[in-house]
Symmetry: C2
Subunit: 662 residues, 2 copies
């Protein structure tokens, strides 16, 4: 058998998506699925070690390397790992539910902001009003201009005439001109009979008093086109990409979109993807993957709201540092190597179409600045979006994910740090873990008398796994009910069949096989608990270390802002109960959902926010926790439920001290 590609064409059909694609014989099956727009989760990025990309070959044959991730039974039934398989015949492939990324389920995250708005509203604030002191003055402006036509006595160049007109009518100085404007100017001026609409874009944030603001003339159109004026705000997440279409005339979000980041097929986490870049054209592939995702969102939004492509005038993007470097095509390797150096923290304005984005050639993309390799533009964006930098109130800002980012500070100072929590909060490294989409167990109650559970499943379907917030809820409730001890071990002497010994040690059965989508018992194991404890321990140690490094304690925090998809579905009591968050008055907590998108949107709304982003990125001092002794000590102390020092969690102490109801 040869692995070389030939020129023979093979047709591959994917179900349940019901799509066909023709590829060359020898093509990778995972690559074929990506090309066909079939979303397959490939946590390890195609290395063959995670087993998340299993597919069923219903007809035809693949050339495949078998790994231990496939059981004999699965192999016999025709399951293969897509990343380990090459197309050698025409194929019919079925993507099973556990390998599939269902786009529809993402709608949940889209709606999350609204739920959160309600949460915030309980403290009588709306999401957009967390940050104050900004006015609606987008970095991009449309200006209508009537020029005096040239005569022999006044035949200065078209550009001079235009710039003089802008100076006279709008007092615009420090204006540079995009070369594409120069190219079409002569024709547009005459087509509009010297009445034109020009677009100007603030080129950089104003930091301190660095003189007059400079702008670039990005577009010129004949006649008055001011009533069509849209921008896009993006959050590029490691898992999902979110977009908002913004009507700049009305100052409001017209529409929302969300898609899995197509990079997910090259690795579930940033490290796997960074490693993928060592392959030939790896970086290009990953750049094209995220750009493809963004284009899909753009095209959907345009189609859905019947907006012409040329009426998008500006794009603002936030995301973590790795995502930003991928988007801009900057090699990410040194982000993950000691001493963790990003190429750039303040990206220059770039032409959106130079990255492959399907928008007019006049559109510039502004990427928010980042602070360090692991404290990215998503955090800066969240900080400005929530106005942390505007208030004296001492704030802890936490974004929870595989990587947890932490900021402590106020309007005078800010320190940041990141800690590697591991993938448990996103369902990774957990036996039945999954991302928070349809079929994930999230809600959990348990009867303390018999440890029988009541579960809530996202999408109200049969369960197929457990998401990160589910894991927190399950752990807290089992701890409270006495099913597990503070050491994270199951109590094995209880009168219940649900706690049993499995292949990975003791486990608790959440759902028996017949009630699941996957026809096996869904369990939570001691290994899962251990992973969760390490994850929450890392987070807690992170803010503890950071807060202490500036001479403060948790009790000093006047406000805690929780960002991130996990945060938006987390039960605060449960989270504190397991020791993920400090045990301080609950009314100091604010859940904002996607902080990254919030700041990107506000930056699209307001040049004040553009300035704020630069200010915040500039004022933040980053601490590298990973090699600090006190962080390690704090981490070890936190590897307990809720903590080795229970006095750090008085409310939990009180609950645990209550006699068990059974």
């Amino acid at each position: 058998m040869t692995k070389n590609s030939t020129n023979k064409k093979r047709r591959v059909h994917f179900d349940p998506d019901n799509v066909d694609i023709v590829v060359e014989e020898g093509a990778s099956l995972l690559g074929t699925a990506i090309a066909a727009g079939v979303h397959i989760y490939a946590d390890c990025g195609g290395a063959g070690v995670c087993g998340t990309c299993k597919v069923l070959i219903k007809e035809g044959e693949v050339e495949s390397t078998r790994t231990e991730k496939l059981s004999d039974e699965e192999y016999e039934r025709g399951f293969r790992q897509a990343c380990q398989s090459r197309v050698i015949t025409d194929l019919e492939v079925f993507v099973p539910v556990e390998s599939r990324l269902e786009v529809g389920a993402l709608a949940r995250e889209r709606s999350a902001d609204w739920e959160i708005s309600k949460k915030v509203a309980a403290t009588s604030q709306k999401l957009e009003t967390l940050a104050t002191e900004w006015t609606f003055n987008p970095p991009i402006s449309k200006l209508f201009l009537e020029l005096t036509p040239p005569t022999l006595a006044n035949n200065v160049s078209d550009l001079t005439r235009l710039l003089r007109g802008l100076k006279e009518r709008y007092n615009l100085n420090n204006l540079s001109v995009d070369f594409n404007v120069v190219k079409k100017m002569a024709r547009v001026l005459r087509e509009g009979n010297w009445k034109v609409t020009v677009t100007t874009l603030v080129t950089e944030p104003k930091t301190g008093s660095n003189g007059e603001r400079s702008s670039i003339l990005t577009n010129i159109e004949p006649r008055d086109t001011r009533r069509r004026f849209y921008s896009l705000a993006f959050d590029i997440g490691t898992t999902a990409v979110r977009a908002q279409l913004i009507d700049l005339n009305r100052g409001k979000v017209q529409a929302d979109g969300i898609q899995y980041n197509r990079q997910i097929s090259y690795g579930g986490d940033v490290i796997t993807r960074i490693n993928y870049c060592k392959q030939p054209d790896g970086l290009t592939t990953l750049q094209q993957a995220v750009v493809g995702t963004m284009n899909e969102l753009i095209n959907d939004l345009l189609r859905q709201f019947r907006i012409k492509r040329e009426n998008i005038y500006h794009i603002v993007v936030a995301g973590n540092t790795t995502m930003m470097q991928f988007l801009l095509g900057l090699e990410p390797e040194f982000l993950r190597l000691h001493p963790y150096v990003p190429t750039i923290n303040i990206p220059p304005l770039v032409k959106a179409n130079s990255l492959g984005l399907e928008v007019g050639e006049h559109v510039y993309l502004y990427a928010l600045p980042s602070v360090a390799s692991y404290v990215g533009a998503d955090i800066v964006s969240g900080i400005i979006g929530t106005g942390v930098y505007q208030r004296r109130k001492l704030t802890l800002y936490v974004d929870i994910g595989t990587n947890g980012e932490i900021v402590v500070g106020n309007s005078d100072w800010m320190v940041s740090a990141s800690c590697s929590a591991g993938p448990a909060f996103e369902g990774g490294g957990v036996k039945h873990g999954m991302i928070a989409t349809q079929g994930a167990i999230e809600g959990f109650e348990v009867n303390p008398s018999n440890l029988e559970p009541t579960i809530e499943v996202i999408g109200n379907t049969k369960p197929k796994g457990i998401c990160g917030s589910g894991l927190v809820n399950i752990t807290a409730k089992l701890l409270e009910a006495g099913g597990i001890g503070q050491d994270g071990k199951f109590k094995t002497d209880l009168p219940t069949k649900r706690i049993r010994e499995g292949v990975d040690g003791y486990e608790y059965v959440l759902c028996w096989a017949p009630e699941t989508q996957i026809n096996e018992d869904i369990v939570i194991t001691e290994v899962d608990l251990d992973n969760l404890i390490r994850a929450k321990g890392a987070m807690y140690a992170g803010y503890k270390t950071l807060i202490k490094s500036v001479g403060l304690a948790s009790a000093d925090l006047e406000q805690v802002i929780i960002a991130g998809a996990l945060g938006s579905h987390l039960d605060i009591e449960n989270a504190i109960f397991i020791g993920l968050f400090p045990d301080i008055p609950r009314d100091r907590y604010i859940f904002i959902g996607n902080g990254s998108l919030l700041g990107a949107r506000l930056t699209s709304f307001s040049t004040d926010m553009l300035d704020a982003g630069a200010k915040v990125a500039g004022m933040m001092t980053n601490f590298e926790l990973s090699e600090r002794t006190d962080f390690n000590n704090n981490y070890i102390a936190a590897l307990f439920l809720p903590h080795t020092n229970i006095d750090d969690f008085p409310s939990v102490k009180e609950k645990l001290a209550k006699p068990q109801k059974n």
Copy 2:
């Protein structure tokens, strides 16, 4: 017969070039020649009205439209107009001497600057020292930098580290960064072990006191690469493109190159080419033609001097406004339409490779500024190159061509104008006119007793036509010898066979058919004389009007600078004798040859010249002569040899008053 193209392929062989090309049946024969790199002169740009692109079909057949430009005899012999012919069979084509542009002959222009240097030296000045007050400080710089490697305690972004290093070591501020530098920076810094060479380019001229100079970081290379550092200076002429390869370490011109501007096959003059742009993709075709010419020059220079492409760091270009707009891809249409408005007078810096130039992606192209549609960067370049703007001395600067450009002024003020002289100075509109290449009659003496001539031919070959400077010499000498009158008419009662009646009225035979390359009598006709008189009349009226418009007279001129290819071969006495130049002391004249290239070269040498270009373009007031009554009056008065008012030309008056020797 159908004119539509088919998919059949046809082979076309061109002699004497001895090149083959395969094209689709139906292709234009002129286009085929261009594609094959065969230079055919097509004065009218393929409209079929000039007859300069005649070729001989030796084998095969073309589908051709016959115009009056082909005689019956020519048609019978197999001559066709290339622009009017389509390829329908395989072909063997011979390009006759009169249709051919011989590249070798251009060497004459290349060497002209040296001859001119000698002319200038007679007034004890060297070409480069006409302009003073500039130091050798190129707009592009190479800086070597050793950086401290990052540590965990200091892991700022690569870009921040680099910029801090540049600030500390070279006190560089106001530095923007090219995105390609951002892209490769991470790898280059580490490859060079934190020792790198960066290239910075001044982004814009300093006019007045507009604050600190801003630069752009255009390149970064590992280790110390300072010893390889070259730039290119170009003059884009309507007929020829000249290039100089400059060694920026030694501050000298390493090599010269010259090529016909390939646009010549789309029209001999700018108006024809501007009209050509109305065709689909016309502008793109013309842009690619000039870029192709520049690439040919670049490739020749690099090969010849074994310089690597990436060691070219900067390009400076000058040329007339139309040539600049073609190069930049800006529609030229409005340059030629009333009220003659250029798109842009101060072009932005552009990436050279974005125009199609085959240089590294780090190379920016700086195009010198222009003043008006018909007073271009070539004139600004000449003015700065000759230091006119630096001296109190009242100067007349004249660039003679199809379009004559005129500047009058000194360090305090400058006025400019252009006048359409018509193509006579470049051999156009003249029965046997040709550009000044091999075979052109240039030198001319005549025996006053029998009007028998002595001719000098460029390249010392048999003649095939008359070039512009030849036309001036012939006219002056025949006038002096009494063969023609001051009205530009032949004396028909003289005892010579050389003055005779031809198809275009009276004519003088310069060379009998057997002594020529073209096997017909080479003549100068009264129509030719009329065209020459109109041409020199327009020039003379131009400077007369311009000088008078500022309240001065020719006698006030303290210096006259003659630029342009014609100027470099002109006999000053003859030129004054026919009334082309004012009759003032000869030692006030300086001939500089290609002033455009001179200024481009100096701008490559010195940021002072970059500033000077902007200053000069800004201070020049342009007059539109074409619709001024006094210009028309001056023009009509100048339609005489040398002038209707002979007192304007005292030295000529004296000579003409001498009794004829016969």
